[in-house]
Symmetry: D2
């Protein structure tokens, strides 16, 4: 038996732990393991294919990043290829993957990636490849699994940042706006905001208004709490699709400046008169050593992926359905993404402890 | 509406976060909240009853310990009372609790505690008190809930310790034996051992032998891995109920010395000739600021406990059944404790990545 | 004896530890202690004067920020006062401070602050006030002392950030540019860059060129090190006072965009063709719990400030001249600021281990 | 030019950072570098001599331990050699080192180690070897340098432990006794105790009595502070050289049990009636990733050691005399060790903020 492993999309803490567990589990069964560098690039012949041995994965459990490297480059079914005239054309190179895998004697592939990678994997499965998926999204927005690895680490990184901003905001009577990851789903903002005792949390799933955000800040001020912490997911735009257009009294002055956090910060400062600062947490959320939770979940995913290969679960991905790891068909997973439910107990409790979501919610 | 809150048993990171969320949730409903100091001692009249306001819980989310203090003192149904002759006699003082609660105008009690406290709560419910439980065990061995708060923090503390012992063990070619909490259940040892890449994990649920532990260490040595890390739950005694009796060749020399870690360390050193050290992690596992996971879970428990009071779920405890918080009857919970399942996927994967449980398990 | 304490300028981890040590040391001598809120605002009558007791400072050692709050508002010698016409005029309000202090029975003041606060303190000393200074600058750019508190914490925060960016940069073959504090002095960039194994460090004290920065990145690339980490102090502008003007081939395209990090990142991306990202660490560097080093140094400063008051060292500030705390005249301190010496052993060793300062230095 | 590097004695965080900086600095000069495994064992022919290249030291800055391994085995001048009759005899094997070094073409040696290693180095220098020393002691008790690497990390580890014990002690009204490293010098106990706000600090340099320790705990109790934290250096024995002999009223009951912390804890419990627990921090203090301070200091030492080799400073060690790295003759360093000065400002301030040293000191 010979399997290959690849990692695609943005990196997440725990990738190396998945690789490690998969390699060791496969080796303990006597299987050969290959690594395809930079997602499918290795299998496309555009990058290396490397052997993965027990020695290859020694000491990598606690390391962020991925020893297989990764890429956000497009799908092999629509691969951007440079044309003689300098333009790019999307070419279907999926047959190359299948042929290269056959030539390398690869019996099965463990594809670690997000929605995009899982979708590609599923298309390749339809063309006959034997693939098991491992879900990877720092945003925790993949359906079918209670949790994805990397998320817990990102949340803790965001909480640490909130804790740090907290003391400086309080010392200076400032409003601090922190932008965290979450283009479509507000899980990081929600979890970190609640655990970090933010005053306002803005997520893509709950429509909010600048007026109500400022109302919250003013009411805290009136109660002697002269600072406020706002945590905003990068995708938490205003309902009209536009963030931070200043009203008529200040036409055009602020427009859309910088990211969502900076825009919101300027609005708050103009509207409330309070000194306001913004910060984009950005790539820090993808980096660093995985937390205990993520190390364990990643290891479980890696071990379960090898069991799924053994059981021939092609087109399935491993998933946490507490307290067990199961396999679920990728097709089902892709049907609809996971989002913050506005009436979830976390949101309800957040409101009960006094957090505003910038809406009129009870 | 007036409720009271108490915390009993050993402390766990997240207690203050539960109290905070419960107080804020109750206050947002316009309820009064009282705190009973040191478990039921306050309600017994042996310690203070204090008002809990929004100000009382400000800034305590990230603090370890409990602002209500706690105690391991016995059940009010069999309370150790000092007699004139200097001995202690167990007295049923439960009626005092009920009467005091009535006099204080307490409509309901949120009791945060482990098996012991939950059992007492259930007995008081049978006598007519209106109580909702919040499970607390650093060992994660309460049934009915996927997870208890404090456990994630304890696991991360243990992983940090393993990480630190790792580098020094490797530099000195040593065996290090780390004892973690878990009198009856080996969850901390299992989770921290896997995430910390221990070489041997010993838990109460899986019978093990000194011979096989030493065999593992020797086989690593033979492969050039001249150090080993053993993680042992405090309750992981040998099948015959005795830990670390040295065999006939060394009669009585080592006997039972110190805790389980020290005994195992001496055995390993004598049997393998390798320099071996032990360390008891002890109280460090209960202390410190809760992780993001524990801050969130505790907050959800606190908020859900108030919702359960509102819904009149007497004799129930709040519980995590991912992804939701639910309530479960305490009677059901107490029927059987939660233990590490020897064929759980975590154990299977641990074996697959090369960890020994000191048995002949595949 | 009655003393007052104030904290001015940007906050720094350790402020509370200084306050705590000063209060406890003064109380142990039987002195009264008052706190002036928001720097001199309390003493100006614009904010509160509060009593500081043993209880006031309980549990604050490890907390970031300052319980006395702080402000960046101007000097009392040139205080911005709102005029009827809406403009601000600078008024000398120093006599108010002196009179209020006399009315409050304050015998001496401990003024904790940076260059600005120390300079104000010295002017007040000249007018007869009895003041001892405690130097505070996150940038470590105050002369006369080997180290200022808060700096070690900021450096560790920056190192953590570099560690996190490192793994994600390496996984994606990216260049990451991290902007840290240091308007005039590059100590944070230098210390964190060396300890975090940055590839390029840019500081205000060492003139650098974009060409040489890109040369370093290209030479790493050629050697198979396809990622690079650039750490830049916010004040590390190009010699001509302008950062990141793109050369003639791309006129005006990039100009000065965002902060220094973003500008440099765009330049690198355009010039080298490598995917480049930037991050501004900003306020995170001022926040959080002080490190052990900062907790100890702050405590020593607080204790020594009270000893200096006892010894009547007016116009002096406490300072670390390892291994002792001494007092130095503020006048001397203000004569010239502390800067990174381009031939300091840290710079020499940084170059020797392969770090580029963006210059032709050996 | 060809140099060798060795690490001896107990490991300390930062060893790898010294090795890395020395290797990179030497390679940048075009020198060859060899590593002697396990202290002098490599040079004695008992262990490996390995080449150290730029690749050998990649990514090790933040790793605890030492890639060259280490040992506490005795001096090559009195090396324990197994005799045919099973006994050990001490043999002078120093000539073997000199000869092997010559045969390997080694021009100079960088010896990283504590008092023991430095003393051996100095003896070898007298026999003609060209050696530069780098001081290493987790206890910070080497003279001639303001600080040694590893100490800051150990102190932070101890502070974290104190912080964790603090919350649990307070919740349970307990006394906690924490034993930290420091056989002869109490620096870790002093620094961590002050920064961690311990109530009692016991160090070898300040004679203390059990009576006064208990008096402090009782006076706190009386003031409503019903818990206490005692930090004790492992070498802080009672003046008569015996720790924790219970007085006449309890003859023999407690004797010397376990380590110093356990003995003190039992004494406190018996004498004050307060529930008391002990904890030995042990090997945790040597492990883990070095702090920013230690990463920088180690790197400076490594770079400076290569400069010292270049300058022919045989028989000297590198040292921090803030703000510069200097070289000092090893002979001078060994003349007298560094100890906590009982009238140092840290001790004075510790007393002023209310910490007891178990004596009658003001």
């Amino acid at each position: 038996m010979r399997i290959a492993i690849s990692t695609g999309g943005g990196d997440a803490p725990g990738l190396n732990a998945v690789i490690r567990a998969a390699v060791l589990s496969a080796r303990s069964r006597g299987w050969d393991v290959l690594g395809s560098k930079r997602g499918f690039a290795g299998l496309l012949g555009d990058d290396e294919i490397i052997p993965l041995t027990t020695d290859s994965v020694r000491g990598i459990m606690a390391h962020g990043g991925t020893i297989l490297r990764t890429t956000n480059r497009g799908s092999p079914f629509a691969y951007p290829v440079l044309q003689p005239d300098g333009s790019y054309k999307e070419i279907d190179r999926s047959d190359e993957i299948i042929e290269n895998a056959r030539n390398l004697g690869i019996d099965a592939l463990i594809s670690i990636g997000g929605d995009g990678s899982l979708s590609i994997a599923q298309q390749l499965v339809r063309k006959g490849m034997r693939i098991v998926g491992v879900p990877k999204t720092i945003d925790n927005d993949v359906a079918g699994t209670v949790m994805t690895f990397g998320f817990d680490t990102a949340v803790n990184t965001a909480i640490e940042a909130i804790d740090k901003l907290h003391t400086t905001a309080e010392s200076h009577d400032r409003v601090m706006v922190l932008e965290v990851m979450g283009r479509d789903a507000g899980f990081i903002a929600l979890y970190a905001g609640v655990a970090g005792t933010a005053d306002v949390i803005l997520v893509p799933e709950i429509p909010w208004s600048m007026d109500l955000v400022c109302e919250k800040i003013r009411s805290r001020d009136a109660a002697g709490r002269r600072f406020s912490i706002v945590v905003v997911a990068e995708g938490a735009t205003l309902p009209n699709g536009e963030v931070g257009i200043i009203g008529e009294s200040l036409p055009g002055q602020l427009r859309r400046v910088g990211g969502v956090a900076e825009t919101i910060a300027r609005e708050i400062q103009v509207r409330t008169g309070k000194e306001t600062r913004s910060m984009v947490l950005g790539h820090l959320q993808r980096g660093g050593s995985p937390t205990g939770y993520d190390r364990l979940l990643s290891t479980r995913f890696g071990g379960a992926a090898v069991e799924a290969v053994e059981a021939g679960k092609w087109g399935h991905m491993v998933a946490l359905q507490s307290p067990h790891i199961v396999t679920v068909p990728i097709d089902e997973v892709l049907r609809e993404p996971k989002r913050v439910e506005p009436d979830h107990d976390i949101v309800r409790t957040a409101r009960a402890v006094g957090i505003s979501f910038g809406d009129r919610g009870v």
